[in-house]
């Protein structure tokens, strides 16, 4: 196993890639009583067309298929595996986003038995017609639940404004699109995207790395899976200019919600790595708009907004950063952001304070096994490989930061508004 670091020597991450292509990351922590295992498939809702393994033609998958598969993966011949994990006193859950599908177990005892069970369930799919039909009702209700969530409604408006082609569809699909999903398509999607070579495993917490690796290597379900076939799907190329500078809609809100996003290509500056570009952009926004900024002080003292926070989105080489919040004075709020960006007030103390904050956040993450796992997953998905965040932090320099922000433009932007239903304008 290769030894990697997490915040320097504070946490060792053991890495191994098996012959079947499965990548394994193990971050042992002797101080905690629990272990966590995440299995991640590199399949998200942004994939809509692909070539199934051993076939030659592209096929379309109904919108919401990746999420539907997430719901059905715990089905086994003997019923829902969730009950087996419950019997074992293990917590399980799963989630799907545009980029990947993540499943995890968290437990305290019987690591070997539970890891084997998890691997068996993950790598031995079972798609049964009646249960697939039944799941359509549950997911339909999940979709309706999101429709009632104002933040979700605003997110749809934001995506429509910021993106031209990417992330247009909803992760869960619609009641109509999921009605087309059947066992055949689930199997094709599974066989293509859930090959060990297109999945990875992250283990953190109370675990012996060697023992964990031995269990994984000897698991029969993994051995049986075909792997190392090329995964071919259509990637949507996203253009840099925003789709529209202003987006509005109505929803079940009492007070309007808004967001103001700025869209960038992470390869914009040839002298900077994408990771450093994103880090500098984040630091800039937290200095300008974070808790403790002059902007924050003014917005609160003049009651321009009730609350606000910094948010980011990404797709391939596109990185989007913005400010979201709740305000009855959207125009004033937007003007204040514009004014702040037109007249950048930065000093070295602010920069160094932000670096301190970021270091302290990573150190705190070490205490939480799910934070450690999530950080590793995020790195692999966003960067294509695991990189210690501290390496990036240590490479940041104030002079370079100044150089970047002096060259940075804030023109590629989109402002979004979610108004109460009766106040549509």
């Amino acid at each position: 196993m290769i030894k990697l670091t997490y915040f320097g020597e504070e946490q060792i991450v053991y890495y191994e890639k098996l012959d079947n292509g499965l990548e394994i990351f193990i971050a042992p922590n002797k101080m905690v009583n629990s272990y966590r295992v995440d299995l991640v498939a590199k399949l998200g809702a942004s994939v809509t067309e692909f070539i199934p393994v051993k076939e030659k033609e592209y096929i379309k998958m109904p919108l919401g298929t990746a999420h539907f598969l997430e719901h059905k993966l715990f089905d086994t011949k003997d019923g829902d595996a969730t009950f087996l994990f419950d019997d074992a006193g293990v917590v399980t859950n799963a989630s799907t986003n545009y980029y990947y599908t993540n499943y995890f177990i968290e437990g305290k005892k019987q690591f070997k038995k539970n890891l084997n069970l998890f691997l068996d369930v993950f790598y031995t799919p079972y798609f049964e017609k009646d249960r697939i039909e039944n799941e359509k009702g549950i997911i339909g209700e999940e979709i309706d639940m999101y429709i009632d969530d104002p933040d979700w409604v605003l997110y749809r408006i934001e995506k429509e404004s910021v993106f031209n082609k990417a992330l247009k569809d909803e992760v869960a699909g619609t009641r109509e699109t999921i009605s087309e999903i059947n066992a055949d398509i689930l199997e094709k999607v599974y066989n293509t995207f859930y090959q060990p070579s297109n999945t990875f495993l992250v283990i953190s917490g109370k675990v012996n790395p060697k023992e964990a690796l031995d269990i994984i290597k000897s698991n029969e379900s993994i051995k049986k899976r075909m792997s190392n076939y090329p995964v071919i799907f259509k990637k949507i190329h996203e253009d840099l200019p925003v789709n529209r500078e202003y987006g509005a809609g109505t929803g079940l809100v009492v007070i309007p919600k808004l967001s103001y996003y700025f869209k960038y290509d992470v390869n914009e500056f040839k002298f900077l790595s994408p990771e450093k570009f994103k880090a500098y952009l984040n630091i800039l926004f937290y200095i300008l708009f974070g808790d403790g900024s002059d902007f924050s002080e003014k917005i609160h003292e003049e009651k321009i907004a009730n609350y606000f926070y910094i948010d980011t989105m990404y797709y391939e080489n596109i990185y989007i950063i913005g400010i979201c919040g709740e305000s009855e004075y959207a125009d004033i709020f937007k003007d204040e952001i514009d004014k702040t960006l037109e007249n950048l007030q930065i000093n070295k103390d602010d920069f160094e304070r932000e670096i301190k904050v970021r270091n302290s956040i990573i150190i705190r993450e070490l205490d939480n096994i799910s934070d450690v796992s999530y950080s590793i997953i995020r790195s692999i998905i966003n960067r294509g490989k695991y990189i210690d965040d501290k390496e990036i932090l240590d490479s940041l320099k104030y002079e370079e930061f100044l150089d970047v922000i002096n060259k940075l433009s804030f023109d590629n932007k989109a402002f979004n508004l979610l108004l109460p239903k009766e106040k549509k304008s």
């Binding site: 419950d86 039944n134 997911i139 429709i147 403790g292």
Partner: protein, 420 residues
């Protein structure tokens, strides 16, 4: 891990010394008897005290100070716990291994500054900050209608009794009441918090010099408080009341149901353990009746579940589903209660409910903040240690579950019904 409780003149210090984590959590708790007005004032108070002090007269200065100390900004919260109002001020300090040892004391002094040196003149807080904090409370109450399930639950609780009762006091204070709050009243409430509360200091983390820390706290914090706290648990005496049902039309896509079940005349054992296991069996776990029947068998809801509020002696059911399925869901809830009351559940279901509860108990030391919550909870609820709790859960029998079923009664149903 080593726990010590030090009784000082007017407060306790709880030291939870452990070498597990990279941070140290420090919290000060004030517990007083609840009233709606007191909660309203404390909601404003926790905001204003963490916004400015005499030394740091803006929020920005406080944030920058904490960032310089590698800490997370001081956090304050107030919440009702049964018949009590608990207000907590806390800060998370990075482990001294990475920093100068003095940093722990500096962080504690920052909490002291915010708590005991507020921006006050003429027995009232700074007018500007009072106005801002009050305005934020008003917006919070306005906004809460966007949280449809919470809205339905509060409506269901209000519907469950005609009387003014403590369990009906929610953190969302009515706007007409908020508008009556005054700055002088806030200052009075602040002084009462310091003078009439039970006060507890909790510190969890790698504490290299315990005695020095104890002496430091004793030197810096002096109170002259006197208090008489009510029993924390709320009891219900309206078993003969009829169940109330109310529907409200709404633009929601999916109906939101809240159902209140009251527990009557529980023994201490039932309240602490049996009711929680009943809830696990009924709707608290993935293998529970509600999840299995409503979601997995009938596929008419993504999420219908129940949770047990021990200090209020109440179980609440929440569910979201299509309007047309209201009767089906309601009947499943009734039938599930009936099946449990008749003992029609397997040993495995009971065992799973126990395992789940025990697993939650064992998470008590998964972070410094959870350790503090555990030991402060023990102080307030007078609960036993984890081992005894687990032993008690293991003792629960099928008959215990059947017996407690007879002490539960649905008090109200509130359905926020889709009008689409």
């Amino acid at each position: 891990m080593n726990y010590k409780k030090i009784k000082c003149d007017n407060y306790n210090i709880h030291l939870i010394n452990n070498k597990k984590y990279h941070n140290i959590s420090f919290a000060v708790y004030f517990a007083d008897n609840i009233s709606k007005e007191k909660l309203a004032y404390h909601n404003v108070l926790v905001n204003i005290l963490t916004t400015a002090s005499k030394k740091y007269d803006t929020r920005s200065k406080i944030v920058k100070k904490t960032q310089d100390l590698y800490s997370i900004s001081p956090y304050a919260v107030t919440l009702r716990c049964g018949n009590l109002l608990v207000t907590k001020f806390s800060i998370s300090i990075l482990n001294s291994k990475y920093l100068d040892k003095k940093i722990i004391k500096e962080n504690i002094l920052l909490i002291k500054e915010l708590l005991l040196n507020p921006l006050v003149e003429d027995e009232k807080f700074n007018d500007k900050y009072f106005d801002l904090a009050l305005n934020q409370e008003i917006k919070k109450t306005e906004r809460f209608k966007e949280f449809f399930m919470t809205y339905a639950t509060i409506k269901a609780l209000n519907l469950s009794s005609d009387k003014e009762e403590n369990y009906k006091i929610s953190k969302y204070i009515p706007i007409d009441m908020l508008k009556k709050l005054t700055n002088k009243g806030l200052y009075k409430s602040y002084k009462e918090m310091l003078n009439n509360s039970k006060i507890d200091f909790c510190i969890s983390g790698n504490l290299s010099n315990e005695q020095e820390l104890i002496e430091f706290i004793k030197k810096e914090f002096k109170f002259t408080n006197k208090y008489l706290l009510n029993e924390v648990f709320i009891n219900h005496y309206d078993k003969d009341n009829e169940m109330k049902i109310q529907f409200e039309k709404s633009d929601v896509e999916q109906s939101k149901l809240a159902l209140v079940i009251k527990a009557y005349d529980l023994t201490d054992f039932e309240r602490r353990y049996v009711a929680a296991i009943y809830n696990g069996l009924f709707g608290g776990n993935s293998t529970s009746f509600l999840n299995s029947i409503v979601r997995e068998e009938n596929a008419i809801s993504y999420s219908t579940y129940s949770y047990y509020n021990r200090s209020d002696n109440i179980i609440i059911v929440n569910g979201g589903f299509s309007k047309k399925n209201y009767e089906i869901v309601k009947n499943i809830i009734y039938e599930s209660m009936d099946r449990i009351a008749k003992g029609k559940f397997t040993k495995k279901m009971l065992l799973n409910a126990k395992k789940s509860f025990i697993n939650d108990l064992l998470n008590y030391d998964e972070s410094n903040s959870s350790l503090i919550s555990f030991f402060y909870g023990k102080e307030i609820f007078k609960g036993p240690d984890v081992k005894e709790r687990i032993d008690n859960v293991k003792k629960i029998t099928k008959q215990d579950i059947i017996n407690i079923s007879k002490k539960l009664k649905i008090a109200s149903i509130y359905n926020l019904e889709s009008d689409l």
